[in-house]
Assembly symmetry: C2
Homo-oligomer: 382 residues x 2
């Protein structure tokens, strides 16, 4: 068993309503000035927390995150300038993956000698002086559990990853009740994204038993509950299962990370601003089919975790699992064709070229992805 | 699902040989003065690490831990006095549960305004100024993953728990190669202790899905590998599985913790100085039988995790599982009678009274343990 480094938030508080406990968090005892970065749609739900913090004498600067799509370097610079002015000693992020990625970077780069444009890459960002608490409001990115933050370079339309153990929060509050109001479309897209994290970790070239445990549990939870949550957003049991599945997906990101699905989706997000979850969801079944020859056994185990009965051989089981994932995507309203999102045939070579550049993730893929492979996958999905 | 707080070391490095990476740990970049608390038998294995630390300019004070049995308040005071003198900025503990418990307390109480005798109990100890790295050399206590430290009050022969999130280390290096030299007897006793952590968390009144995942995985790993490691100490694969199982057992301790087995063993350890693992191992099968009416389904699931085929009903399956645990204990050389350890019939009332006092753990037990229950369990084991 190869040596692996697991990274976890020091404390993860999980349960419906747990946001109400945040103001009493022990990290905040030493904080006076709190920057709260929050997604606008969730602001009302977080108001009691802001009031509770102010009632105990904390200075809270509420910064509403209103940017559409993935955060850019320029937007991040704006937020950093604002933060430098307020001089917080603690950052709290409440929102989806974009908000949390930004909150993580604000906490790490405020009062740092490193500049934003210098830190993309693995373990280049070093140190974090501010406390950091993250509260996810979607069940998808798992950003709250991971050392990753992704920004869009608006000059090149490239997505760039900033990866560092210092981006793992000190404390995380996962409150499934916050996801009840998430529309079905977003529930589906973020849910399949979380499923991707688990599946791409489990079929990863660098899969590891300690991460397999999280991955399979995430697959079980999301597979059994995503459609329920899409059909009835108020199903707290299904929402809770998705929150947990997403947490497990996030724990897969640090030590093992994703692979070809995420690499192939880079251009769809970066250049065409298709949402991260949707881009991954469209790609997932076809990439699984492409990878199958390299990981039949593991794909069959994924199928079993999705509730497929054991077939006469691993390949049959695996294929039924992939079909089940495709059916789940369709049942949750995920479009099946890139053309329906405005992508045309002559866009595909550039999309493939962008994907081939994401070596950090393609290196993890169980099967080598060449230019013609990437093109074939995109073409079949057109 | 009730709200639960999971606690993890920020980083857990797992793999045979990973101790060799410790000197390069990023926490140590900011450290100048390192106190290394180490169990004597493992000192040779850790010498290269000490040399590597000194080679990069760190001042390393090696304190060999030579106390027999569980550490006492007096011994802890001695170590604290030594530590205050050296003024380290980082504590590294390398050893079994006693060594790690002491290392955790040294890191938390050095330069603290709290005194050792004031901190027993839950969440009374607050804050830790020193960095803390733990390296387990047994597969048992799981202290490296938990917020717990246990000391023996030598004036009353009582074991006292000090529980605080600040006792969870910053980084943990779990190196199964360090356990290769552990004698079969210690392998068995510590291994069953780790199994207890998992089982008592899984049948706990406060069991939680997030902890169940760890508990069942620990049960699978320890159940399948303990006998192998006892029979052939050099079986690295079995040792690795036990290290991982013990890690999962440790992760059960913070959020859910143990129950009647550990409560009943308090007097055996405190008053008769029977090793913690051995005391638990003797008690485990009989306590499981006692608890069975209150948790048939869950005990059956434990049996399945131990490889028992599903029986005609949960009770049959559960009973076969308990028999399997008893057989495993016997195969690993665990004695089956308290009398063989010098306990006599007239000792039992006091042992039962001590156990009934450990309400912190008995409250977790799926079935209420009254005085006559405790006496019956002890009597049957005499």
């Amino acid at each position: 068993m190869r040596t692996l480094q697991l990274q976890h938030p020091k404390r993860t508080i999980f349960g419906a309503g747990c946001l109400n406990d945040l103001a009493k968090d022990r990290i905040l005892e030493d904080s006076q000035r709190i920057l709260l970065l929050i997604a606008t749609p969730i602001y009302n739900a977080a108001k009691p927390t802001v009031e509770a913090l102010r009632a105990i004498g904390k200075l809270v600067d509420v910064y509403e995150y209103t940017f559409p799509g993935e955060p850019t370097f320029h937007q991040m610079d704006e937020m950093l300038a604002h933060t430098q002015e307020f001089q917080p000693d603690c950052v709290i992020g409440i929102g989806g993956g974009s908000v949390l990625d930004c909150a993580k970077l604000l906490a790490a780069l405020s009062n740092s000698q490193q500049k934003l444009h210098d830190v993309p890459g693995i373990n280049i960002l070093r140190g974090r002086k501010l406390s950091l608490i993250c509260v996810p409001t979607t069940s998808g990115t798992g950003s709250e559990m991971s050392p990753n933050a992704i920004l869009l370079d608006e000059t090149t339309n490239e997505k760039k990853g900033i990866i560092s153990p210092d981006l793992v929060p000190d404390a995380v509050y996962i409150d499934p009740a916050l996801t009840l109001s998430l529309p079905a479309k977003l529930t589906a897209e973020t849910g399949i994204d979380a499923l991707c994290h688990c599946i791409e970790a489990y079929t990863n070239k660098f899969a590891h038993p300690t991460v397999d445990l999280y991955a399979l549990q995430g697959i079980k939870l999301i597979g059994a509950n995503l459609q329920k949550a899409c059909q009835n957003g108020n199903d707290l049991e299904a929402r809770t299962a998705l929150s947990l599945g997403s947490m497990y997906g996030g724990l897969c990101l640090g030590p093992v990370n994703t692979a070809a699905v995420h690499a192939l989706s880079y251009g769809l997000g970066g250049k065409y601003h298709i949402s991260h979850g949707l881009a991954n969801a469209i790609l997932l079944p076809d990439v699984l089919l492409f990878n199958l020859p390299a990981c039949v056994e593991r794909t069959a185990e994924i199928a079993l975790a999705l509730g497929i009965p054991k077939g006469p051989d691993p390949e049959t089981t695996a294929l039924q699992g992939i079909t089940k994932i495709r059916e789940l995507c369709i049942a949750c309203g995920i479009p099946q064709h890139l053309s329906s999102l405005g992508i045309q045939e002559n866009d595909l070579p550039e999309l493939a070229a962008i994907a081939l550049n994401v070596k950090r993730l393609l290196n993890n893929n169980p099967r080598e992805v060449r230019m013609d492979d990437a093109l074939s996958i995109f073409t079949a999905l057109l």
